[in-house]
Symmetry: D2
């Protein structure tokens, strides 16, 4: 039995890499390219990329239809992501597409829509040390890691983190400046698995870090769909199709065959 390769699309806002010399130095082709290359190296996947300034942000129906797991990095231009594309990604997640939301993507429109909460946090840009602790060493997402790993320079994100309560907390971070953060959280909505992973400020070479790359390689495998595609659509079940034989009783609002209100 051959397992089909998982198809990943790495989406990146891809603005700071063009405007900020420091970011450009770290990610000359954009962080989506760095991430995509690291996933290809890990194997078992095919990887495409998409960015904000492409038509339809690179997320056409055809691209999403073939995507098993979407990785999302955005920061300064969340509000430039069009309504229609957010709705399209949302639908695909509910249908079963995996979603890995990175760092400042906590404030992306798609993550906020899936959570239903503020997704707020506290933050500080001091290049301080972050240590990510593994909360469940047996979880698929942390395979190959030790009890913790460190990032010498990172932006701090601190609690309170305004999320819906996660299915499982995979990482909790310790920051040199004294804060903590739930840095790796899993969720599911509809058929889609969602993983939020904190690290990745664009001013530091986080996505070149082998342990971060390992987490991403593990996460896309974990988030890959395990079932069929399905989206619910509020169908009417006419009386004659009820599993048990019944007859209509009482007054009705809807005419036979009418669609419900939306």
């Amino acid at each position: 039995m051959m397992a089909a390769p998982i198809h990943i699309t790495v989406w990146n806002e891809f603005r700071h890499e063009k405007t900020n010399p420091k970011v450009k130095e770290i990610y000359p082709q954009g962080m989506h390219v760095t991430i995509a290359e690291s996933l290809r190296k890990a194997g078992g996947v095919t990887v495409g990329t998409a960015t904000l300034d492409e038509p339809e942000h690179g997320l056409t129906p055809a691209v999403l239809a073939k995507t098993d797991v979407l990785i999302w990095w955005g920061h300064a231009a969340h509000d430039q992501v069009q309504d229609e594309i957010v709705a399209r990604v949302h639908k695909r997640v509910l249908e079963g597409m995996g979603l890995v939301v990175l760092h400042s993507g906590h404030y992306s429109r798609i993550f906020k829509r899936l959570m239903g909460t503020t997704c707020s946090l506290t933050w500080r840009e001091a290049g301080e040390k972050e240590r990510l602790w593994v909360c469940n060493p047996g979880h698929p997402i942390v395979q190959g890691l030790d009890r913790y790993f460190e990032l010498e320079n990172e932006e701090m994100y601190g609690e309170p983190f305004g999320i819906a309560d996660p299915d499982e907390t995979i990482f909790v971070s310790w920051f040199q400046g004294g804060e903590v953060f739930r840095s790796g959280c899993t969720f599911h909505r509809g058929n889609g698995k969602i993983f939020y992973f904190r690290p990745g400020h664009e001013m530091y070479p986080t996505y070149h870090n082998p342990q971060v790359q390992r987490v991403l390689a593990n996460a896309v495998r974990w988030a890959a769909p395990g079932g069929g595609r399905w989206i619910d659509s509020c169908p009417n079940i006419p009386i004659e199709k009820a599993p048990e034989k019944i007859t209509a009783r009482g007054p009705t609002l809807h005419k036979p065959g009418e669609q419900g209100f939306r």
Copy 2:
């Protein structure tokens, strides 16, 4: 120690009561009035009402500020609820206001925003019998009920119900036509407690039913806020305010004192 009364606002779309003679007969002043009166009779609360066609749908900042628990009934005009009002209610729920969503409110904008899912279901309007089973007889919401209660005529809602997984399933319904439904579900988002309660098709006298009234009276008590009001706002924590003494290291994207991207 005197417990302050809980302040409830009952929100109703209030359209079918004006246009459909059958609905008008059952709820001459609107179902919000019927619900409000039943809550007042149960005691320990103060109750106001608000409807779609009032300015700001009756949900001004002042009304919401004093509301402990909001009850929501909407059906045919979900898309006429303005963006701003949805956002205002959403914020108050995250701050701690309780929310009781009734029947066709499963498709309301506020419920879908809080769930992040489709909130779809299957349905049939045949006036068939519904039997609501209590899944946890010790839960505050079902106090005073027996093992189950019946509604002689109701609209059928069937699984799959496209919600985020509930904190607790309080009721599951059996329908005469052969379907089942998770008819009472609790959630929390931010500080707000949310209760979805299925019954209440406008063509049947459901909100005159004493057991339904008992559930609503219990539910508003359960959903009342237990803590303070709070909404998160993603504050920057400057380096000099870090709990542990640190100094800046490495490049920075933001200038000191700058707000983050949204």
Copy 3:
């Protein structure tokens, strides 16, 4: 990339098949053999069996070490399952072994230990019709099923079902006699995935039903471990191994190198 076959162990109490002629007629070699054969036919797995009256109930450390997913059917002899074997299975689930608990296994020692609750329900043996509704048609466990399937004769299990709240409710059952039940529920504890599946009274040919067999074949794939084996053991982290340099302050209860209390 070849996926290694998942190794399943089907555990059965295997008493009624020997003492009750009706059960013997339905499952001449025991229901574990019927289940094992159906899983083998579905492919991609290797399957062993184990029964109560074997030494160590057939669940030696070696058997459990190689088991990816354990299926559990017990009914009349829960209290004859030895403490040591319950503890051994429990440890393996927390380490990552999947567990599929069937029907009357709701009252097995291993399921009650994992839930921490009573696992009680109501029941009736009337051979009535059960209709299992799919609550999420995109979930891996329901692939290949329609919106629902029916069992012409089953024992009734009714709510309240005294479980810890499930991660996801996969099936809800409708019974001819008027009850409902959360018939398919997923949980995770430690690294282990757990699926409770209601049908399977020994007096009816439930495990010969193709849709039930399909659910079991899907469920073992879903429950198979995705990560490494790991069990936590409350290790002391000596001061000199703290990630940040610290020195001891204040009085201590434990001598250096001492194990904690258990």
Copy 4:
């Protein structure tokens, strides 16, 4: 409407206070007395105490029957808590009694039974600084606290913490030595609310700390029962009591009126 006072029982192992001079100095009458006094000072409650070496560990059926919330501190003698008392407390929690588990109580028999997991963690006794971050400033348990509070000397508990995933993570701790821990977690099992709160090593004056006392005073209010007492008992529903009229079909294992297997 007068709210009846909540009745609290503070249970303490009460051994180290008698054998270790340092512990005795901090808690001359036992930490249960210190905790009980702080709760009484906060008001709105009546408080009793119980300790391991009393008959039935002070937890007679009468004491538990009147207890709304039980606080549990144990460390060196978990295995001396008798089976029968563990079962009695467990039953009361499922019936609706609140439970606040403190510090080394993570390894108590009652907490492990409720979780179904190892409840393991890592630890170090260095008197290092702990900073507890509030993860949801609107939650009832943290009212009156600032964004965080600090304990100058505490034992370190580190992730991974082997619990079932909490309903809500209320506190996450930062430790000077570099670790992190989910220090305040809520759960519910049956009708009982459970709060695990990490601080409280007996060698340090933690329960004299005003913020710790505030958390405990808030927690007992949060954990107080909101519904009726109920414990499930797996009743048979005879055919003639089925809500829908049915007749027996097919063979039966149980004779009419027989109890089920346990």
